[in-house]
Amino acid sequence: MTVSVPPDPVPPPRRVGHLAARGYAWRGIPFAVRLPTIVHLDADAFFVSCELALKPELRGTKCAVGGRERGIISSASYEARACGVYTPMPTARALKVCPDLIMLPHTSGLYGKVSRRMFDLCEALTPVVQRNSIDEGYLDLGPCGFASSAAIEERVRGLQERISLELQIPVSFGIAANKLVAQIASKLRKPRGFVVVPPGGEEAFLAPLPIGRLPGIGAKTEAALNARGLKLVGDITARNDSELESVFGGGWREIRAIARGEDERPVETERDDAKSYSQQETFADDIGDPGEIERVAKGMIDALLPKIRGDGKRVRTMTVKVRYGDFSQEAHGRSLEAATDLEAPFYPLVAPLLRAAWKQRRPLRLVSVRFSGVEDGPAQLEMFAQTDEKRRRLAGVLDRLNAGRKTAAVVLHGHQLAKKPPVV
């Protein structure tokens, strides 16, 4: 579906100086050359769309990608959403509200591959692409030198069609003069949305939208604001300064800027480094055996450290989180003296951290391991640590052997092997 807000007439050149002199300049660029160059793309029901590309016979059905039994829904088709399935929703509950829901298991590696191909197509259009997540990102067409808004629209439509044709997945686009408005626009008409907000029309575009469309305003805040008479974005811009201050407190200026559709953030091509690395596992049945939980946690160490080494990082802090059957949870962390890229220093922390976090003597539904305190750059070598160098060499060999293998035939550490049943 496509919605195009009528653009302002491009002002004739003679007015440019006049308007600029009155302050109608935007990032120092005269009014006349302002174009909606920021594009937000957001793949629709991404995981499900990837699966449907492989299983077209399921198109139009209520289906969802997620874990079975005790897992959660990670992506649901629009038909399933219509029945009340949302993400993240426990699979068991989803099957209750929508008994004919077709559950598709995660296909390992598929989504990453489709995502890479999708962003590759984006990069064919402009080099300035910010990959926010697997299924969503920003493009800046500023450097492409398009002469008009229409030219930009045409090229982005071309991109939408190409993604649809080559990858068989629907993607929604929002086009505006900044990231904030482009992002709100892309989410407005899903799926296959295509919304263009002309520069200068930001405030008018946002005004009739429900206040919850603004980033940072969640369901609770929205309800609280509705109670105070603020239902639409336009209700914010209609209030005066002191009223806004009484509602929003010290941050009122930022809220007003957002409501007016003002945003100066550039599209950043370099992704921020990971702040932490984590993995979690939800068990098919709650597990009460500390030995088994310890084995799972150590397996997570073994899964995460190769990634950390691959990124050229070191980590210092490990946090173990446990979740009980009733979803209550507790976490405990500890830091090493110095950051490391090896598994071995973390193994001895597993048992004490588990003891500290797993205080209630009840079986666990989930355990997770998180590494933080990420460091990179030069590493001071230790003197009495020849074994570390040997371990690092061994780890390098293992990483190479395991590279590219998914689950089959990876080299396992001894503690990853499940306990054998006693011989009768």
């Binding site: 990179d376 750059g377 030069p378 070598l381 230790e382 009495f384």
Partner: protein, 374 residues
């Protein structure tokens, strides 16, 4: 107890023992100095239970006896007294009158009964050493001690009397300094201790009072008797320093000293120190390393921090080995260079992940681990 004493001698004596006080909260008397008067001298003793110091000052003793007084305040008062002659008079209720010129103080003391006695030594292992020599040896290794309390074994200097020599070692796990001197070590008398960092600091401070000192030790404690024959400000006999030792096994330092020499360069110590010091001025906490690059007859030192800038220094040297580069924490290079006195030092390197080694013509070695650049 009653005595007359020279103000500057008294102040000098108190200055020797002043640093060693215990925590006031657990045992208030540990912040006091024990003053004992007998014959023609007074002795001043402080202790924190791990470490104790006693010195003797000449005085005109009129009445023997003992008392304890808060050492920090007492030292401040004595330094400020108006007249060179000071008289001290303790009453049986431990109040002490101090008079000098027109100044009169009355200070509340605590009886000596509560003061923990310093353990005296009998027939432990004993060696005689030269103060000047031990000072130089301690100075050349002490900077490498660890200050990380979780590695308490390394929070001190290792004294090893063995195989006809005394070896001192200090390491923080990233660098190691070692020096040794030949001396007679009877096999039955060989042994080693880890002297805690605080004791090393006190010992180094005390080692300029005379020619000789004597060390006694067993596996739990050590004691030093430091001659005061060169002192001219009232100290008599010897200063006695008692210390517990760090109990545990010192790491096998021999294994981290490279056995083979790869590339050895001779360096002018002062010049190299200045170059590294200047280059390190651009270092920051996050990028705290200098890169040493060796090419034919040239040594280059570079440092950089992304948000500040970079520095480049070069030195002409005699070198004909392969080109190589290796990065170090600049402090690890500068500390040994500062502590040494010889004009020339030898620096041995191999590659970017192997340790660098400083050597002198004396028995000195300092091994420093590189920083691996990613």
């Amino acid at each position: 107890m009653k005595f007359k004493i020279n103000r500057d001698h008294f102040a000098n004596g108190l200055a020797q023992v002043l640093n060693v006080v215990g925590s006031k909260a657990t045992m208030p008397i540990l912040s006091n100095v024990l003053i004992e008067a007998e014959k023609d001298q007074i002795s001043l003793t402080t202790t924190n239970l791990d470490l104790g110091i006693r010195c003797h000052i000449k005085a005109e003793v009129k009445e023997t006896g003992a008392v304890t007084l808060p050492v920090k305040r007492l030292a401040t008062i004595v330094r400020e007294l108006p007249n060179i002659d000071v008289s001290v008079d303790a009453s049986p209720n431990h109040q002490v009158k101090i008079a000098s010129g027109g100044s009169n103080f009355r200070i509340m003391g605590i009886g000596k009964e509560e003061f923990p006695p310093l353990p005296e030594f009998g027939d432990e292992k004993a060696y005689d050493l030269e103060q000047e020599e031990l000072t130089a040896m301690l100075k050349s290794v002490a900077y490498a001690q660890s200050t990380d309390e979780t590695r308490y074994i390394l929070n001190g200097v290792y004294f090893n009397f063995k195989d006809g020599k005394l070896t001192l070692v200090a390491t923080d796990g990233r660098r190691l300094a070692l020096t040794s001197k030949e001396m007679e070590v009877p096999a039955a008398n060989s042994g080693a201790i880890i002297l805690p960092a605080k004791t090393v600091a006190e010992l180094t401070r005390l080692l300029d009072k005379g020619a000789k000192l004597k060390i006694n030790f067993n596996e739990r404690r050590a004691a030093f008797q430091i001659a005061t024959d060169k002192d001219s400000s009232g100290l008599v006999d010897s200063v006695y320093l008692y210390s517990k030792v760090v109990e545990g096994n010192y790491p096998n330092y021999q294994q981290v000293i490279p056995k083979e020499t790869h590339q050895r360069i001779k360096l002018e110590r002062e010049l190299f120190l200045q170059c590294v010091h200047r280059a390190a001025l651009v270092c920051s906490e996050k990028s705290n390393s200098v890169k040493i690059k060796l090419t034919s007859n040239l040594l280059e030192i570079t440092a950089q921090s992304p948000d500040f800038g970079e520095a480049h220094e070069s030195m002409a040297i005699g070198y004909s080995g392969p080109d190589l580069q290796v990065a170090f924490n600049p402090a690890f290079i500068m500390d040994p260079l500062r502590a040494l006195t010889k004009d020339e030092v030898f620096f041995e390197v191999k590659d970017e992940v192997s340790p660098g080694v400083f050597k002198t013509l004396d028995s000195f070695i300092c091994v420093i681990m590189p920083v691996r650049l990613s």
